[in-house]
């Protein structure tokens, strides 16, 4: 695809110079929505979440991709899924994940001895979730980080993070048996792809 350049004229007309027409256009739009939402039965197109109402679970209104407090998933045997690959701590722009690896002495070999996220430093970007090759870390709790009395309480360790966790059913490596059908085509972002 060729990328075109759109030329925008920056010369101001008299109409722009006066400003008033633009202001009135804006006011008109606001007024239109005001009357529509107040006068239409069923309140038009706005939706107000009634916080605090016992019948309402705020989480139902959050989009699926909302990024909340982190959690760590576990395997079928209840041990942590994370293999301490450090991909998340490497990609984290806030540098707020600290992991120490240990040898599990079994076929899965590596696991985090400690896994600490400083939620105060976290900028909630979700890169860690994207980077994780094992579906071990997720931000789908739909929970906001609650204010804490001390800074130390906002630093979550492996136990805290796993207490929110659940079993993950992803196949290690992310490939299911019928991967051929699901397999994405070669990634066009890698321009040096020889095919």
């Amino acid at each position: 695809m060729t990328i075109g350049v759109k030329k925008v004229s920056l010369t101001r007309t008299t109409r722009d110079q006066i400003f008033l027409p633009a202001i009135f256009e804006g006011l008109l739009t606001t007024a239109k929505h005001f009357f529509k939402n107040t006068l239409t039965p069923g309140m038009g197109d706005i939706e107000t979440i009634r916080y605090g109402d016992p019948d309402v679970d705020v989480k139902d209104y959050y989009p699926d991709r909302f990024r909340g407090v982190h959690r760590l998933m576990y395997r079928e045997d209840g041990s942590v899924r994370c293999v301490a690959c450090m991909c998340c701590s490497t990609v984290c722009p806030a540098n707020c994940i600290a992991i120490e690896a240990e040898d599990r002495n079994d076929d899965r070999e590596k696991a985090p001895l400690s896994f600490v996220i400083d939620e105060l430093k976290c900028v909630v970007c979700g890169f860690c979730v994207e980077a994780c090759p094992c579906d071990a870390i997720r931000m789908d709790t739909k929970e906001h980080m609650q204010p804490t009395e001390t800074r130390a309480e906002a630093v979550l360790g492996k136990v805290d993070l796993m207490s929110r966790g659940g079993p993950s059913v992803a196949v290690q490596g992310g490939v299911s048996p019928d991967y051929r059908a699901e397999a994405p085509k070669a990634d066009p972002r890698f321009s040096h792809d020889p095919r």
């Binding site: 293999v83 040898d103 397999a183 994405p184």
Partner: protein
């Protein structure tokens, strides 16, 4: 070793005289750039004519024009196996693609390293290599410095087409003192086998089974326990052989490296020190054909452990009290004057520090000693019996007067001196001798807490070998450079600078700084790299490791 006096029968072996000279390991394949005046062969690589040394191979020749032909089994320091077929290139007038590692250059040869056919072969060989590869990069210690990862990203970059189960082999098999084998990740390049046959000559490793089930293993009843075993981890292009010590400690991409010299013995192998945040994680060899070839011994790799942050001396102490450094210097200068003194040079400290101490000894007079680590095992390959990096340099700096360290131990035990200044914290003295240090003015320039350092009454915080720019003189008489991996924390300073401070406090003028001493030494030995660093230490800053496996 509670009450024994250190045996005087273990003198420091210094100077080239009493030991076998070092024969640097000869690499079977040398770089292709011709030495001036040598006859050359001209070959054409991707349209570029280049004059190379005769007898070299196409792969080395291609490096001269900046083409790094992707390869697994070829290693400059090992014989050629040509088993991986990853390095195929097209050569005019040859009907088939040729392994560039094995084909020698001929006059008028025309080589294509990037033609359609070559790219296709490369991709297909890679796919073949990956057929049974577990691709467990997340838990693989080599990730980030893995040749297979790098070649995959550069040349293949395709999803797998394999939909049958992969062949399983032994995982995390303990095959030696230092090494864990993961046979699944092995790509059967045989570098490790060739290393064990050709360098230590111990041949512990072999291939077992055939076809898809072929894998690397130790000969039955043997273990990979030779004194150079960790080099197999370096030559292994993938994560099949991993070091127990480094395993899971940190990811390779988090490390920064600095080029320095091993301080494990008198050979002074060229090494890289890998660090993160003022903490060292490993030592790996660096190519230096005049000393260590591509290799180093296993003992030398553990030298980084002496840099442990927990033991560091960060501030000066006088009689057990923490004191600001200038005050400590002033007190030391005052107490050292006009006493019957023993000046203890160190075979583990840099030339600069020893030369500075020599200047102090000239001023104060007194008896001169050289103290160092006790001798250990040596062999004909690299290891020297003398476990000090700078015995030759220390001895040269000491000048004519010199007594054995055994006598020092005896004399200290007998309280023969009123004052002692010790240049470094290493060296083993018996309890009795250490007791002799406690009662008198004893100044130690220590970078870590050792029994010797803690026995001294005045402790000056010195920078360790990972924090200074300096030099050692190895057993061949070569100047070896040491570079800083991080800035010295707290009050720690180069030993030569601490002694300079002492000299200034004693009223001396125009004492050269450590950097000036380095500069002079480098010029005297015509060591260009060190001389450049002394003028501008910026390039000595550690660089982040990215695709670090440049060691093969």
């Amino acid at each position: 070793m509670a009450n024994e006096i250190h045996p005087s029968a273990t003198p420091i072996v210094a100077g080239p005289a009493p030991k076998s000279a070092l024969t640097p390991p000869r690499a079977p394949n040398v770089p292709a750039d011709p030495t001036p005046g040598e006859e050359t062969v001209t070959v054409n690589i991707d349209g570029e004519d280049v004059a190379v040394r005769p007898g070299t191979n196409v792969l080395e020749a291609a490096k001269l024009v900046g083409k790094d032909i992707c390869h697994f089994c070829y290693h400059q320091g090992l014989s050629i196996a040509a088993s991986c077929r990853q390095c195929l290139v097209q050569i005019d007038k040859m009907p088939k693609l040729q392994p560039s590692c094995q084909v020698g250059v001929r006059p008028g040869m025309v080589v294509h390293t990037n033609s359609e056919a070559v790219l296709k072969a490369r991709r297909e060989m890679l796919e073949f290599t990956l057929k049974n590869h577990p691709v467990d990069c997340p838990i693989c210690d080599k990730a980030g410095e893995c040749t297979l990862q790098r070649h995959y990203m550069d040349h293949d970059h395709k999803l797998t087409r394999v939909d049958v189960p992969k062949i399983r082999k032994a995982k995390h098999k303990d095959i030696g003192r230092e090494i864990v084998l993961d046979a699944e990740r092995c790509i059967l390049c045989s570098r490790c086998i060739r290393f064990c046959e050709e360098i230590p000559g111990t041949s512990e490793l072999t291939m077992v089974s055939r076809g898809e089930h072929q894998s690397i293993d130790v000969h039955s009843g043997q273990r990979l326990d030779n004194a150079y075993s960790l080099n197999t981890v370096d030559v292994c292009p993938v994560g099949a052989l991993t070091s127990k010590d480094f395993r899971f400690a940190i990811r390779a991409w988090e490390l920064s490296k600095v080029d320095t010299t091993c301080n494990g013995c008198g050979t002074g192998c060229a090494v890289e020190l890998h660090t993160k945040h003022e903490q060292a994680y490993r030592v790996v060899p660096r190519e230096d054909h005049s000393v260590n070839g591509h290799w180093m011994c296993d003992e030398g790799r553990s030298t980084y452990k002496s840099l442990d942050a927990a033991d560091r001396v960060r501030h000066a102490t006088v009689d057990g009290e923490q004191v600001a450094l200038p005050d400590a210097i002033a007190i030391a200068a005052k107490r050292l004057r006009g006493k019957h003194i023993a000046v203890v040079f160190s075979a583990t400290a840099t030339n600069e520090a020893n030369l500075a101490l020599a200047q102090l000894a000239d001023l104060l007079g007194g008896e001169r000693f050289v103290l160092g680590r006790p001798p250990g095992r040596g062999d004909e390959i690299l290891r020297d019996r003398d476990k000090n990096p700078n015995s030759a340099g220390a001895l040269a700096a000491t000048g004519a007067v010199s007594k054995h360290e055994g006598e020092l131990a005896l004399e200290l035990a007998g309280r023969a001196y009123e004052a002692v200044i010790v240049l470094a914290d290493s060296g083993e003295l018996s309890e009795v001798s250490l007791g002799g240090l406690r009662g008198i003015t004893s100044v130690c320039l220590a970078d870590r807490h050792t029994p010797l350092a803690d026995a001294c009454t005045i402790l000056l915080p010195a920078a360790s070998w990972a924090e200074v720019l300096g030099s050692y003189t190895n057993r061949q008489g070569k100047l070896r450079s040491v570079q800083p991996a991080w800035r010295a924390e707290g009050d720690r300073k180069h030993r030569a600078d601490l002694i300079r401070d002492l000299l200034l406090a004693m009223g001396q003028r125009d004492v050269p700084t450590a950097r000036e001493r380095t500069q002079r030494l480098a010029e005297a030995h015509q060591h260009r790299q060190l001389s450049r660093l002394a003028q501008d230490p910026t390039p000595a800053r550690p660089t982040l490791l990215r695709w670090a496996n440049s060691r093969g």
